[in-house]
């Protein structure tokens, strides 16, 4: 086995195992089976797939992870608390731009005329992610205080308005984050591992093992990072939700008046859940920014960053964190898959009318809409329904 494929396989073990842990049922044999199957899956993928297809799979999985985080955040808000938040894109954008501003070095000299930004601190990746979480939390709190007085459809309209305002700010305020122009050069964390000289602080033998990797293989390394983030977020959220905290959220979602009469501070809890959900979305934004390296306002349209996330949560199962992640991957798969489909049916469309093939892209939205209609009609509870027992301490 060539050393490059061996190293790729080794790296791929981590996301493959995590994915299997998520999918397999909770039995005693889950961990060993997931590890063994993860190793087999990782090496069979790296050995059998041509490198182009493997790279596509990796980028697909990375974006799947970004969407999985967004869906997890929305699940706390909608699935557990019943906040009809149509402003996912806003917090996604805030996370992405905050982390970018924190980690990019402010340009100097001639470059400063082309790239304007409020500040560029050149701080490490993890500081950027933490700042994204913090700023999302602050904005979510400021939004929540007035807006969460509203319920259901009114809340939906207010939040979509907030998200649009946020996007338009990043579109028009040049001084903030380079206005309508893209903000480039967002650093990739631990990029040194794929460079020829390796990271100075890593032990010699690790550098030697990772030596076959070239900068082209960096996305695979990033997939490992982001999948660990998703796993960590899932564990923390699951712990919080499967405890009296989650029970309180569900109780408030079901019947506010009676939760209030039983001593729960409704306003406080509703704001808290909104903020926690927004923090997860902000982190998703930061991880997205460091993955794509170049961001601009157009990445944060409601269609991609809000409504697709909603379809993911509806499909996976509102109120179930495992369902949220799985729904994220499935809908992202449908979305990516229909790109090929749209290409494939172009000749067919050309037979109907000359200008139809140009509009084949919209065919994808049609399919997503049909998917949403099918979910609502035939499986409103989603693929994995909400569990009856909330508290994990009550499990036998």
């Amino acid at each position: 086995m060539p050393p490059l494929i061996l190293v790729k396989g080794l790296l791929l073990i981590i996301p493959a195992t995590l994915l299997l842990l998520l999918v397999l049922p909770a039995r005693r044999w889950r961990l060993p089976v997931a590890i063994v199957a993860g190793v087999v899956l990782a090496f069979s993928l790296t050995t059998s797939l041509p490198s182009g297809i493997l790279a596509y799979t990796v980028s697909f999985a990375t974006m799947g992870c970004v969407y999985a985080l967004l869906t997890l955040g929305l699940n706390i808000q909608w699935g557990y608390t019943g906040h009809l938040n149509f402003g996912v894109a806003g917090f996604f954008a805030i996370g992405a731009f905050t982390s970018a501003l924190m980690t990019v070095e402010a340009p100097t000299g001639i470059a400063a005329q082309y790239t304007q930004m409020a500040f560029g601190l050149g701080l490490p990746f993890l500081v950027g992610v933490a700042a994204a979480a913090l700023v999302s939390a602050v904005v979510a709190f400021l939004v929540a205080v007035p807006v969460l007085r509203l319920r259901m459809d009114f809340l939906a309209i207010a939040t979509i308005g907030v998200a649009e305002i946020i996007r338009l700010i990043f579109q028009n305020e040049r001084w903030l984050a380079n206005g309508p122009q893209p903000l480039r050069g967002i650093p990739q964390p631990l990029h040194c591992v794929v460079e020829t000289q390796g990271c100075a602080w890593l032990p010699q033998w690790v550098t030697a093992v990772l030596d076959p990797l070239s900068p082209r293989d960096y996305p695979l390394f990033y997939l490992v990072i982001i999948s660990l983030f998703v796993a960590g977020a899932y564990l923390l959220i699951e712990r919080a939700c499967r405890s009296p905290w989650g029970r309180m959220l569900r109780a408030i979602r079901d019947e506010e008046a009676s939760a209030a009469m039983n001593g729960k501070h409704i306003t406080y809890v509703r704001i808290q859940s909104f903020v926690v959900g927004a923090v997860i979305m902000g982190i998703a934004g930061a991880l997205y920014a460091h993955y794509v390296v170049t961001i601009d306002y157009s990445h944060f349209h409601a269609l991609f960053a809000t409504f697709l996330v909603w379809v993911m949560l509806m499909l996976g199962g509102s109120g179930n964190n495992r369902g949220a992640i799985i729904g994220g991957f499935i809908v992202w798969g449908v979305w990516s898959g229909t790109a090929f489909l749209a290409n494939a049916i172009e000749p067919l469309l050309a037979l109907i009318a000359d200008d139809l093939p140009r509009r084949a892209a919209y065919f994808r939205w049609l399919l997503v809409a049909l998917l949403l209609a099918a979910i609502v009609l035939f499986r409103p509870q989603g693929l994995i329904r909400e569990e009856k027992l909330v508290s994990r301490y009550l499990r036998k």
């Binding site: 712990r239 009296p244 029970r247 109780a251 009676s258 209030a260 001593g263 508290s391 009550l394």
Partner: protein
């Protein structure tokens, strides 16, 4: 057999010295203690408008400790609005609510609860997607696991409290004889069972006063008996005071003393069930003037 298990449960639930008393004559009323307790809840001149409709028009009410006070009146008299204002769901525009010597006027519901005042709703408001057991486990105040920090970093403390709350909830369920349904979704209970669940919820804390809004509405006679037995038992053995809105006169007459009559947002009179039954003004309020005249 059923009786045995119930007595056992009560012994567990209400602690020392209660078990012996529990088996003694259940039907005995102690009339003298009913009107002599200290003032527990005092409502003074409450006013509440809904647009141009004056739902409460200077309503007064007092509930003495240890009583089961009835609250009756024709539809639209302002009974439920009074409950809503006392428990903080609606703001009072004038007037005061004194509970246990403390002014609780216009406190939000969760603060009212902290003072030891519980209520049930006219239409049961169960948490539908939670099991019957977790509907009860939700209630105990001061749960460690309601803080995010503790759910992540102090799972041991959360677990201990959860298991203790589970045991308590199971005992309460045994007391109201719903224990066989503990794993059922609360939304799947029958109307009467939901009313029992509402009562059970108030037992998960140590309330001093429980406001019951039409506990008997839509409940079949068998369940109704269980409900009234439970109320009497809790009143006598645990010293919980009740204020009960009810339209079923038989229930009011057999359960409550004193009875407060409301009409058009105000208190009309208060007295023993006998006095209320004989008062012509009460009949007039219920039936309108002409019928009262015929009756007289």
């Amino acid at each position: 057999m059923l009786l045995c298990s119930k007595t056992l449960a009560q012994g567990h639930l209400w602690g020392d010295g209660m078990t012996t008393q529990a088996t003694e004559d259940e039907g005995l009323h102690n009339k003298t203690s009913r009107s002599s307790g200290a003032l527990l809840l005092e409502v003074q001149g409450l006013v509440r408008d809904f647009d141009s409709l004056r739902a409460l028009d200077g309503a007064d009410l007092s509930v003495r400790e240890g009583t089961i006070t009835g609250l009756i009146g024709p539809n639209g008299a302002g009974k439920t609005t009074l409950f809503n204002v006392v428990t903080g769901f609606h703001l009072a525009q004038a007037g005061r609510v004194i509970f246990n010597g403390k002014d609780i006027t216009n406190l939000p519901p969760h603060r009212v609860f902290q003072h030891g005042l519980c209520r049930t709703f006219q239409i049961p408001r169960e948490h539908q997607s939670l099991s019957v057991l977790e509907n009860l486990m939700l209630i105990p105040p001061g749960q460690q696991g309601e803080r995010l920090f503790n759910t992540w970093f102090r799972p041991g403390a959360v677990r201990r409290q959860e298991l203790a709350n589970r045991d308590k909830a199971l005992e309460v369920l045994e007391f109201v004889e719903l224990d066989h349904l503990h794993d059922e979704y609360a939304r799947n209970l029958s109307g009467g069972q939901k009313k029992l669940l509402e009562l059970a919820r108030t037992l998960m804390t140590d309330p001093q006063l429980v406001l019951l809004d039409e506990p008997g509405a839509g409940v079949n006679p068998t369940l109704m008996h269980r409900l009234t037995d439970n109320i009497r038992y809790l009143n006598r053995e645990r010293g919980i005071t009740f204020l009960v809105i009810e339209h079923d006169m038989d229930l009011i007459m057999s359960l409550c003393d004193p009875v407060v009559v409301m009409s058009e947002g105000r208190q009309l009179m208060t007295g023993s069930p006998e006095e209320v039954r004989r008062n012509p003004r009460v009949l007039e309020a219920y039936l309108g003037g002409q019928y009262a005249a015929v009756e007289g």
